[in-house]
Amino acid sequence: MGIVITVTSGKGGVGKSTTLANLAVGLANEGKRVVAVDFDIGLRNLDMLLGLENRIVYNVIDVMEGKCNLTQALINDKHSKNLFFLPASQNNDKNILDKAKVKELLDTLKKEFDIILLDSPAGIEGGFEHAIAYADRALIISTPDVSSVRDADRVIGIIDAKSEKAQRGEEVEKHVIINRLKPELVERGDMLNTEDVLNILALPLIGVVPDCDKVISSTNMGEPIIRDEKAQSGEAYRRIARRILGEEVEYLDLSVKKGFFKRMFS
């Protein structure tokens, strides 16, 4: 029986889909059968991050409405044979999602896959509620800035209130991923550091991804950065994937390495 992990953030544009795409590849590379589901109905974009946009025939709404069967809609990744992708629809709005149908879909996916990654839409409305309703675990993405941390805090409260698991008296396992951390700014005291964010959100950490220019080109290419052996952010994602599976993995050293002379003259 698979588990549902929802990737969410509250604020948009903090790297939710990028994180999900990378972790999907990472978890598949660890040998798990993974399906990445784009729940951002009407605003499809996980397809481009995975480089699978040209292969879409059916989408998640088609499956839920019985217009096709699941196997017709699932797209197999180019490189990882145990990674599948279920795209969002483009022409519906978020209100089309129906709780019973969402549950049915997830129950079916749980039988086929080890891990179901749900890309939740930003915000706290309908689409988001469906994405967290049946979550077993949640990964909350936040960048180290005030608006993102504030919205993350709000979303954490809603997960506790509205998920099925929470309503049954159980707890959705929640972890924070801090994205786009700039070590130089942290060192200078001009960016919230990891500790600050964790103190405020009062949740355990599962990863810190440094800000990295290479992510932009990898997005341009539709190749998740996690496949880049040399990129620091790729390494960060690889480690997060292993931590999700319960492994204890050391954190990346993100301290700024400055020589004595550079420090004197900077």
Binding site: V146, R150, D153, R154, K162, G189, D190, I200, R263
Partner: protein
């Protein structure tokens, strides 16, 4: 800012301001969002009151006085 403070990077930056502002705003928001059932409860209570009297709106606020949590309801009649 002394030369040495600069040298060893012991500068107080804007992050500490961000931290304080966030803590303040979240303390306030958490208190007001602590009751997720509030909207549903409010709607139901409103229905009941409407049966008996003309009501314009109701306000429910939560307060903590020492160790006692209090829900305060204000019914505004037409």
């Amino acid at each position: 800012m002394s030369f040495f403070a600069n040298l060893f990077g012991k500068k107080e930056g804007s992050a500490s301001v961000a931290r304080d502002r966030l803590k303040l705003v979240l303390a306030h928001e958490r208190a007001s969002n602590a009751l997720p059932y509030m909207d549903d409860m409010k709607a139901e209570i409103l229905e009941v009151i409407k049966k008996y009297t003309k009501v314009k709106d109701i306000h429910i606020s939560s307060q903590t006085n020492q160790n006692i949590d209090v829900l305060e309801m204000e019914i505004i009649l037409k």
